[in-house]
Symmetry: C2
Subunit: 320 residues, 2 copies
C-alpha cells in the first residue's frame, strides 16, 4: 500500500503528490515515512530559485520561464513560497493567477506553500516539497520566493541556481544594496527594463560585478534585461536568454566541481531542519501538552524567573 | 565585579550596555549570566514596534517619534533591526543616519541589530537587547523592523503596541493586503500622505477596519495621516497625534486586561528562543565539532540516507 503510493508518485501522479506535499506541510505522521521512501529517488532535478523584492515581477518571469522550459520539452515543478506577510502576500497570490494557464499542461506541476506556525519550518516544508517533485521526475523545479529576510534567504539555498529579479526605481538601486546580494545571485534579471532608470541600474550593477574580485575561473553573474512585455517577440527572446544563462550556470556548477559544495550546503540545511523537527518540536509539544509551557511563561511574565534559567533546566532534564 | 557591571548598566551606563548587547548578539558565554542578573529589573518599559514595507519611511517616523517622546521627558531606547537583506538592508541603514542627531542626547540610546548565522536567533537577540534597555530604565523602547517575512513578524511580537506604516502606491493597497495585517497593527500610520492615492488608501483601510467584527470593547486601530514633511509645523502635529494614539493603546491594554495576554505571548516566544539556544545550539555545536555533521551531510548529498532518519537517530541518542 505504501509502496504503491510511492510508485504512483514517482510515476508522476499529481493527486497523490499534492496530497503528500500538503501532509508534509501539515506534519502528518504518515507523511515523513513516505518521504523517507521517496528519498533515494530524488536528486536528479535542476532546482532554480527566483527571488527579488515584492513587486519586482517574479511571478511574471516564473510564468514565462515555465513556457520556455516547456518549449525545451522539460517537465517543470513550481513551488510558489508565500511567507505569511501582511504586506505582500496577497499581491503575490494575485500575480500567480497568471501561472494557472499552465495548469492544463500535464508537464507542469504547480504548488504553493505558506508559513505555518510560529516555530518556523517553512524552509523544511520547501525542502520536503522539492523532494516530492524530484521523485515525480520533474526535470526543472522552480522555487519562487520573496527575497527579504533571513528565512527567505534560507529557502533560496535549496536551489542550484538563483535568479535575482530587480526593477528600476524600487529601492533596488545599487548604492542601497548590500554585498549579500552578490552571495546569493547567480543570474541577475533586470525586469521592467523599459522603465526610466533601467540603464543606470544595469550600469551600476555591471560596475559592481566588475569591481568584485573573483577567483580564477569563478562564475560572474550575467545580467539579463527584460522589459518589453508589450513586444511579445522581444520578451520571448529575452526569456530564452534568461533560461540559457541559467543552464550555463548549471553547466558551470558541474564542470567546476562547485555543484558538490552547493549540494553540501543544501544537505546541511536539510539536516538542520530535520533536527529541529525531530528534537525541538517534540520537546515543545510535550511541554505544551502537560501545561508546563504555559506555567513557565506565566512565571517569566511575572519576572519570577528568566527564560534562560528555565531553558537550561529543561535542557538538563531532556538531554542525556 | 559582575554585580558592579549590572548596577552600572541599571544606572544607564551606555558603554557597558552596548557591550553587553553586542556580547549577547555574539552569544559570548558571560553575556547570558549577566542577562539573568538583569532580568528582575526588566519589564517596566513601554515597547513600541514600528514595521512596514521597505521604503515606507519607518526610520523617518522613528526619528520623529524619538523627538516627540523626548518632549514628554521620556527616556528612549531604539533598536533598529536589520535583517540580512540583500534588497533593503543598505537603504534602511542610510535612513537611519538621520537618527544620529539624537546621539548627543543622553536620554536616547540607539543600537542596531543584524541577523547572524544560519540558525536564526534574531528574535532572541532582539528580546535580549530589549531586556538590557529595560534594565537601563528606558521609559520607551522603539523596535523598528522591516515587516516582511515570518521572522520579522516574530520580532514585532516583542512589542506592546505596533505601528504599521503604509504609503500610497507601494503595493500596500488594501486589496493586496492579507487579514494578517489587522492581527499585528495597533495603530496605522499612512506616511507620505501628500502623495496621490493617500486618501484612497485611507478610505479603503478605514472601510476594512469598519467591516471587521470586533468583540465589544475591543481596540479599533486608529489611522494617522502623516505627510507634510515640508510643513514642519503640521508634521510635528501629526507626530504628536501618532504618539498620543500609541499611548492610548497602551492605556487600553492596561485597562482592558489585554496587557496580560500580550505579555504572555511575549514570554512564550522568549521561552521558545531560549529553548532553541539551550538545546538545539549545543547539539549542533557538538555535531559540528566532532565532524559528524559534515559526514552526515555528505551521506545525505549522496542519497545514502535521508535527513529525517538521521535526525531521528540523533534525537534518540541525545534525548533522554
Amino acid at each position: 500500500m505504501l509502496m504503491e503510493t510511492i510508485n504512483k508518485i514517482c510515476a508522476g501522479n499529481v493527486r497523490l503528490a499534492s496530497r503528500l506535499i500538503r501532509a508534509l506541510e501539515d506534519k502528518l505522521p504518515h507523511a515523513r515515512a513516505r518521504l523517507k521512501k521517496l528519498f533515494p529517488r530524488t536528486g536528479k532535478s535542476f532546482i532554480i530559485g527566483i527571488t527579488g523584492s515584492p513587486g519586482a515581477g517574479k511571478s511574471t518571469l516564473t510564468d514565462a520561464l515555465i513556457a520556455e522550459m516547456r518549449k525545451l520539452s522539460k517537465t517543470v515543478g513550481v513551488l510558489a513560497v508565500d511567507p505569511t506577510s501582511p504586506f505582500s502576500g496577497g499581491a503575490i497570490l494575485g500575480d500567480r493567477v497568471r501561472m494557472l494557464r499552465h495548469a492544463e499542461d500535464e508537464g507542469v506541476f504547480i504548488r504553493s506553500l505558506a508559513t505555518r506556525g510560529a516555530l518556523g519550518g517553512l524552509s523544511q516544508a520547501v525542502g520536503d516539497a522539492i523532494h516530492v517533485m524530484e521523485a515525480m521526475g520533474k526535470d526543472i523545479i522552480i522555487v519562487e520566493t520573496v527575497g527579504i529576510g533571513q528565512q527567505e534567504i534560507d529557502i533560496i539555498h535549496h536551489a542550484h541556481s538563483v535568479i535575482v529579479v530587480m526593477v528600476p526605481g524600487m529601492g533596488d538601486e545599487i548604492q542601497t544594496m548590500k554585498a549579500g546580494i552578490l552571495e546569493i545571485a547567480d543570474v541577475f534579471a533586470i525586469n521592467k527594463a523599459d522603465r526610466a532608470g533601467a540603464k543606470q541600474l544595469h550600469t551600476e550593477l555591471a560596475s559592481l560585478l566588475n569591481s568584485t574580485k573573483l577567483s580564477p575561473g569563478a562564475w560572474r553573474p550575467p545580467i539579463v534585461m527584460i522589459g518589453n512585455l508589450y513586444e511579445p517577440a522581444t520578451f520571448i527572446e529575452q526569456m530564452a536568454e534568461l533560461a540559457q544563462k541559467v543552464f550555463d550556470h548549471y553547466a558551470y556548477l558541474q564542470e567546476s566541481g562547485q555543484m558538490g559544495k552547493r549540494m553540501e550546503r543544501k544537505a546541511m540545511m536539510e539536516l538542520n531542519d530535520a533536527l529541529r523537527a525531530c528534537i525541538m518540536e517534540p520537546i515543545i509539544a510535550n511541554l505544551t501538552a502537560s501545561g508546563e509551557l504555559q506555567r513557565i511563561a506565566e512565571k517569566i511574565r511575572k519576572l519570577e524567573i528568566d527564560p534562560y534559567s528555565v531553558a537550561e533546566e529543561i535542557s538538563k532534564r531532556v538531554l542525556k
